[in-house]
Amino acid sequence: MSLLKIDELEKSYTADKRILKDINFEIKAGEFVSIIGPSGAGKSTMLRCINRMVEFNDGKIIFNNHDVGSLNKKELRKLRTDIGMVFQHYNLVPRLTVIENVLHGRFGYKTTLQGLMGRYSEKEKEDAFRLLEKLGIHEHAYKRCDQLSGGQQQRVGICRALIQEPKLILCDEPIASLDPNSSKIIMDLLKSISKEMGITCLVNLHQVDVAQHYSDRIIGLNDGEIVFDGKGIELSVEQINKIYGTKAKDLITS
């Protein structure tokens, strides 16, 4: 069953440049899909069209049987509770504690007043601690986020996305600011989340080898166009060159 279906998606920020050109793909529930491509290809933009952090110009996005483009403000908030997001720079509130940051993930379910009073149920708090424990950072629960390492902060970011009880998690370069060790921990975590909890993952990545190692499927983006869509093992050297342009080939061979 398809969870996400994108049809003839078009996006441009300015009238003179098309950023996304006729994007079509479909993602099944539980799939782990990577999007690769050079910087500026439109990966971040594409991810943000899905939860309408960026408004697209044309085409259709169907998520979980909802037409994303036609939702009003209230319905959009509701939709966003179903879509978690993980960022390159973690985007936590640095002066708040780990547990507070995780509980922010519940805002989509709260009325204005509940959110302002910071009212969370005991179940929500227990869930938050369970997730922290699962990701191995429970002993930092009461520390301020700016005292944590990058890898630890990214794990908090993942907890914040998971407590939303999402159907889909969008990750925008989740390991681009991390060292190889932390990168592996984060990718392993994302993979196990998708396997054990059945949550669909759509991950923007820089590194081809990482994408090949972890994904069920890879989408290659170049200058706003999909130039590859298939399994990691099907990705040949020519296709990598097509995704990254000829310059990349020169860099590799020289």
């Binding site: 939860n51 952090m53 959009l76 908030r77 509701k78 939709l79 966003r80 509770t81 879509i83 978690g84 997001m85 960022f87 720079h89 973690y90 985007n91 936590l92 509130v93 640095p94 002066r95 708040l96 507070e100 922010h104 993930g105 805002f107 989509g108 379910y109 709260k110 204005t112 959110g115 302002l116 910071g118 970011g157 914040r160 939303q164």
Partner: protein
């Protein structure tokens, strides 16, 4: 062969400032003002003035004021009470101002409000700031009569204008990734303000409020004298302009100085702690 883009002064030394029109206008304005000041001294009416005795008497007055301070029309308790009254006027104007400024500055920050709204609030605030506090006090005095109400309202107005600018700039510094993350969760605007913006800016807001309190204390003293707002400023005015009691003027001045000094010490500490870059 020398590159033509190097600008040199007339004597051939290399310029490191771009001598633009603004600089030149500023320089000429200063020159003209200096000349006018000197010239105007020559045209004063010095008929009744004997410089020798004027200097001597001023020195005597200052001597009495600052070396023999004493209270005669007030007792110490009353003087302290009046200092507290002045502090309260400043406190009231600052606290109410801070609360109103907080909500207005949310509407003045471009990352939190639509551009149209931010423009309106900013113009509104700029107009308030352009009019001096004393003038606001006099304007409110039309409705409220001269006194503490008009003084607090006037001080309040200026505090709001000052703090809206400071607060909204602090809000705009908030990492936009934080705002994006909260929006992507489905948080509404108030959630974002409470959980993203406030924790990130709280200490800045507090120190701005304190800085304004310090300013308001000085203004409150002046308002006591000029607008009959009461407090120690009014006693100062009575002592100097009504009783000609130099000793009491001296005493009150010392009292004000001590309070101002304490406020200054606290605010310097705050600045060092929260704005380390600006105190260097």
């Amino acid at each position: 062969m020398e590159a033509t883009y190097i600008k040199r002064k007339k004597d051939g030394r290399i310029n490191i400032k771009w001598g633009n029109k603004g600089d030149r206008v500023l320089r000429w304005t200063l020159v003209v003002l200096t000349i006018l000041t000197v010239v105007s001294f020559l045209f004063f009416n010095y008929a009744g003035l004997e410089l020798g005795s004027a200097i001597r008497e001023t020195a005597y007055n200052l001597n009495v004021m600052f070396l023999e301070p004493a209270l005669s029309h007030l007792d110490l308790g009353e003087a302290m009470y009046q200092v507290v009254v002045t502090l309260s006027l400043a406190f009231l104007a600052t606290v109410i101002g801070a609360i109103i400024a907080f909500f207005l500055s949310l509407m003045a920050a471009t990352n939190l409000a639509p551009v149209g709204v931010t423009r309106i609030v900013r113009v509104f605030v700029a107009i308030i700031r352009a009019v001096p506090t004393v003038l606001w006090v006099l304007i409110f005095a039309i409705a409220a009569g001269l006194g503490s109400e008009a003084a607090v309202l006037g001080m309040l107005f200026h505090s709001i204008a000052y703090l809206v600018k400071a607060f909204s700039e602090a809000f705009e510094e908030v990492d936009k990734g934080i705002l994006e993350a909260l929006r992507s969760i489905g948080a509404d605007w108030w959630h974002i303000v409470k959980s993203g913006v406030l924790p990130s800016t709280f200490t800045y807001l507090l120190s701005w409020i304190f800085l304004r309190f310090e300013i308001n204390f000085g203004v409150a003293v002046a308002m006591g004298a000029a607008a009959g707002a009461g407090g120690i400023g009014f006693d100062l005015f009575m002592a100097s302009g009504f009783y000609f009691d130099m000793r009491e003027v001296g005493f009150i001045t010392y009292a004000i100085l001590i309070v101002a000094f304490l406020l200054e010490v606290i605010s310097t500490r705050l600045k060092k702690r929260y704005f380390p870059a600006t105190t260097e």
